[in-house]
């Protein structure tokens, strides 16, 4: 097979790697600015201990563990996109495989950080490794996480080798020597010989097969961590699949956002990452949202129906207690995200005079419904009358429906923007979902008086830092390696040419 790389491709994908322009430094400066406060507060936590957080008995896991589960979840993007679509020989996956795989690696790295941040004495981490017992679920998590991270790094590296060889061979004369040397070492002497291609593709296929069960094992082992305790609310047999579905759902959400940001940062990528990707992956996104809703209904309905003495207070705190804003907020975000993805497919492009389908109507209704949601959340004494509360809830639901109809037309003509908005809703909703799994149970522990948990400024700042670190790794990595798998795109073009000739 003869593949071609045009100078046009080279200019668009390789030349930007050597340009450290003002835009790049501004992004770096912004990320450092949001990372620094969290890091300083973490150092303070190290010195003063976990007392600076709201972690205490029985809430040993707080925002840090919510981040851990969330970050592990988003790391599923690489497995789904790269491995599953690779094995199914789906052609539209090619331009986004690298971004997907790198999200897996960086997601897992930042997830690992959360465990260390959650420890009052991280210097004792070594004891977990030295004296670990197989009966400890924590050991299963360590094994699964480490194996998944190593396999994800290996999968990313395998796909990078031909492109690193390209960078080695096409580095401009003005490029720093260390960078040329780095590419030379990492390319492993790749020459593109037929046998090398054959072996590389074989290795990629084998890794794709193995990474899927390893990825699923990590997500289910994390749910086992919960279910092997005696705490109410974590006993559901559906928790494992629920984690996996949530992971794929949030992973695709983050992938949409990362790909869209990369397209905005380097406008040339729009030639490679087209709307086809948004349409096709959007369908998987819709399916995942349907499965997620079904599992959430299952989780809720079973506990509400059985009314078990220890389980029900946990559920009650979600439905109308201290965690109600997070629970209903999650559901509202997910309903809105699904609507944004699905509804535009059922309306026509033609202008309409229907007042319900006007963007202005949608925006006004959205604004008022957001205000109503916060009024309900704040539980102001002046609005504590049950009749007023019921009225506010009915008004909120009606306005929310009007808002959804109102923005549909606008979304119809903006596929990428609407997908990014839906993805942001899903990501925030999935973070809240992790919160809703952990916090209600921890604050309603068995045999211990009920308590509350509110993250302190340290936990909030460290959380912001974590997402800053994730983005920083992403930005720096793509200053050294192309964000598009060039050889895969070339291979796809060659295959299309062959198909066209037939």
């Amino acid at each position: 097979m003869q593949q071609t790389l045009t100078l046009h491709d080279r200019d668009e994908l390789i030349t930007p790697l050597y340009k450290f322009d003002r835009k790049f430094w501004m992004v770096i400066a912004f990320l450092i600015a949001i990372i620094t406060p969290g890091m300083l507060l973490y150092v303070r936590q190290l010195v003063l201990g976990l007392g600076v957080t709201d972690l205490n008995r029985p809430v040993f896991w707080g925002a840090y563990l919510v981040n851990f589960i969330f970050l592990i979840g988003i790391s599923m993007a690489g497995t789904v996109i790269s491995a599953v679509l690779q094995l199914l020989k789906v052609n539209w996956r090619r331009p986004i495989t690298r971004i997907a795989e790198s999200l897996t690696v960086f997601g897992l790295m930042t997830a690992g950080l959360q465990i260390i941040m959650d420890m009052g004495r991280p210097d004792r981490l070594i004891n977990t490794l030295l004296y670990g017992r197989l009966q400890a679920p924590l050991m299963w998590d360590i094994a699964s996480l480490t194996l998944y991270l190593l396999t994800a790094v290996f999968a990313l590296y395998l796909q990078l080798i031909p492109d690193i060889a390209l960078l080695r061979d096409t580095a401009p004369a003005a490029a720093p020597e260390w960078r040329k040397k780095l590419y030379s070492i990492l390319s492993l002497g790749w020459t593109g010989a037929k046998e090398q291609w054959r072996r590389l593709e074989k290795a990629i296929t084998v890794v794709s097969v193995f990474i899927i069960p390893i990825g699923i094992s990590l997500h289910t082992v994390t749910s086992w961590l919960f279910s092997t305790t005696v705490q109410p609310g974590w006993k559901s047999t559906i928790l494992g699949p629920y984690f996996v579905v949530g992971a794929i759902f949030s992973g695709i959400g983050l992938l949409f956002i990362a790909v869209s940001l990369a397209r905005e940062y380097n406008k040339h990528l729009k030639e490679y990452i087209t709307e086809t990707f948004y349409i096709n992956l959007g369908w998987i996104f819709i399916v995942m949202s349907a499965v997620w809703f079904y599992f959430t209904l299952n989780e809720t309905l079973v506990v509400v129906t059985e009314q078990e003495t220890l389980e029900f207070p946990v559920m009650a705190s979600k439905l109308f207690g201290q965690f109600a804003p997070a629970f209903w907020g999650m559901n509202i975000l997910m309903i809105a995200a699904t609507w944004i993805l699905v509804a535009p497919k059922f309306v026509s492009d033609k202008p309409t005079r229907n007042p319900l389908l006007q963007t202005v109507t949608g925006l006004v209704a959205t604004g008022i419904s957001v205000i109503l949601f916060f009024l309900l959340w704040l539980q102001l004494p002046a609005l504590s009358d049950p009749n007023i509360q019921t009225g506010l809830i009915i008004a909120f639901v009606l306005l929310f429906i009007v808002a959804l109809f109102g923005v549909t037309k606008w979304m119809k003509t903006r596929l990428i923007t609407s997908t990014v908005i839906a993805s942001a809703f899903v990501l925030f909703g999935m973070w809240l979902e992790r919160w809703n799994i952990l916090m209600p149970t921890l604050t309603h522990a068995r045999l211990i008086p009920y308590t509350t948990y509110t993250p302190t400024i340290t936990e909030i700042a460290v959380t912001i830092s974590t997402f800053g670190i994730l983005t920083l790794m992403f930005v720096v990595f793509y200053k050294f390696f192309p964000s598009i798998s060039i050889w895969e795109v070339e291979e796809g073009r060659a295959l299309e040419q062959i198909a066209d000739r037939r």
């Binding site: 790389l5 017992r133 194996l147 593109g192 010989a193």
Partner: protein, 62 residues
Amino acid sequence: MNFPLEQPLFQFFYWLVNTAGVGSAVVGLLIGAAVTTFALTLRWIASAKDMGQESYPYPPKH
């Protein structure tokens, strides 16, 4: 009465899951095996003999 832990096999299983350090050793073996496999795979790819550059797409062509 048959109590499982009287049998050597179950005593072994008990030792396996309850002994401090054994879990770490098993995880270490697992990770070690994975890293070795990955390293050998990379060596296998890099050591492929150059049998004509039929599919070599670089340097760029117009």
